[in-house]
C-alpha cells in the first residue's frame, strides 16, 4: 500500500501535468497508485518508469474527458431550456413586467429595473466563479464548464439598446432572468452531488 505522501505526490504530479479537474484526476491517481503498488522496488524509480510509458495515455484520457464535460455542460443548458419551469418563470416575469409597465411613473422605469436584475444575477454568479477558480483546491469538470459559460454568457448575451419596443425588451429580460435562475439551480444541485460523492 502506498503512503499518503506518495499518493499526494502522484496527485500533484498529475495536476501539474495538466489534469486539473478532480473528478478525472482522482481516478487517474488511483490507477497509477494501484499499478505502482504491484511493483517492487523504489517508489520514485517505479513512478518515473511508469510515467515514461503511460503518461501520454493518461493525458489522452484527460483530453477526451474535458470534451465530454463540455458536452455534459451543454446538455444541462439545453435541458434547462426545455424544462416547463423555464417557460413558466419567464411567463410570470413577463406578465408582471407588462402589467407594471402599464403603470410606469417617472423614475420607476420597469425596464431599467429588469435590466438591473439581469445584471445583478450574473454578477453574483461571476463572483462565485472567481471564488471557485481562484480559491477552490479541487475543481470539478462539468461545474467549471457551466460556470465558465455563465461567466462569459453574461457579457455575450447582453442585448444592445437597439431594441426600443418595451414588450420585446420585457420578454427578453424575462427569458434571460428565468434562464439564469435555472442555471443557478443546476450549478447548486451539481455542487451538492459532488460534495456528496467526494465528501468535499
Amino acid at each position: 500500500m502506498l503512503t499518503k505522501n506518495q499518493i499526494q505526490f502522484t496527485d500533484r504530479y498529475l495536476e501539474q501535468s495538466g489534469i486539473k479537474y478532480m473528478d478525472i484526476r482522482y481516478e487517474m491517481t488511483d490507477h497509477v497508485a494501484t499499478a505502482l503498488e504491484n511493483k517492487e522496488g523504489d517508489f520514485y524509480e517505479n513512478f518515473r518508469a511508469y510515467m515514461v510509458q503511460h503518461k501520454q495515455e493518461l493525458l489522452k484520457s484527460n483530453r477526451y474527458f474535458k470534451k465530454l464535460a463540455l458536452k455534459r455542460a451543454f446538455d444541462i443548458l439545453k435541458d434547462n431550456l426545455t424544462k416547463p419551469a423555464f417557460w413558466i418563470i419567464a411567463l410570470i416575469i413577463f406578465i408582471l413586467g407588462y402589467i407594471a409597465n402599464q403603470f410606469n411613473t417617472p423614475g420607476q422605469d420597469i425596464i431599467n429595473n429588469l435590466e438591473m436584475i439581469s445584471m445583478i444575477l450574473p454578477m453574483l454568479i461571476n463572483l462565485y466563479f472567481l471564488h471557485y477558480w481562484l480559491f477552490k483546491k479541487d475543481v470539478h469538470s462539468v461545474l467549471m464548464k457551466l460556470l465558465l459559460f455563465m461567466y462569459f454568457g453574461a457579457f455575450v448575451f447582453r442585448i444592445p439598446k437597439m431594441v426600443h419596443n418595451a414588450n420585446y425588451l420585457i420578454a427578453y429580460y424575462a427569458l434571460y432572468i428565468s434562464f439564469y435562475m435555472l442555471l443557478v439551480q443546476s450549478v447548486w444541485q451539481l455542487n451538492q452531488q459532488y460534495k456528496l460523492r467526494y465528501n468535499d
Binding site: 490507477h31 497508485a33 499499478a35 493518461l58
Partner: protein, 113 residues
C-alpha cells in the same frame, strides 16, 4: 491496446459491459488486469482507450459510478445500470452473430479433388 487493436477497438465497450455483468462492480485498473489475465497478455487495454470508453458509457446511462475511499485515495467503481444490463444482452447477441458470420467467411473451403 495491442498491435492488432483495430480488430478489438469496436469491441471494447462490449468487453467492459460483459466484465461488469459477470463481476458486478469494477474499477478501471481492475478491468485492464482482468482482460490481460483472460487473454494471457494478448490484449492490453491502455488508459487512453479504457477511460474514454468508461466515461462515455457512464454519460450514456449504460454504467453508473460510485466512489469509495480506499488505501489513502478515492476509487471510482463502475457497475451496469438496468438499461446497461439490457444493452449488454443486445451487444453480446450482436457480437455472437458477428463472430459466426466471420467464421463462415474466413474458414477454409475443403476440396474433394
Amino acid at each position: 491496446m495491442s498491435k492488432n487493436s483495430s480488430l478489438y477497438k469496436g469491441s471494447l465497450n462490449t468487453i467492459i459491459m460483459k466484465l461488469l455483468e459477470e463481476n458486478g462492480r469494477m474499477y478501471g485498473y481492475e478491468i485492464t488486469q482482468k482482460v490481460k489475465a483472460i487473454t494471457a497478455g494478448e490484449l492490453n487495454i491502455t488508459e487512453g482507450a479504457l477511460y474514454p470508453a468508461l466515461h462515455k458509457l457512464e454519460a450514456d446511462g449504460i454504467l453508473t459510478a460510485e466512489v469509495e475511499r480506499v488505501d489513502n485515495r478515492i476509487r471510482k467503481y463502475y457497475r451496469l445500470t438496468e438499461a446497461g444490463e439490457k444493452e449488454t444482452i443486445n451487444r453480446l447477441t450482436e457480437l455472437e452473430e458477428f463472430i459466426r458470420n466471420m467464421q463462415n467467411l474466413v474458414k477454409p473451403r475443403f476440396s474433394l479433388e
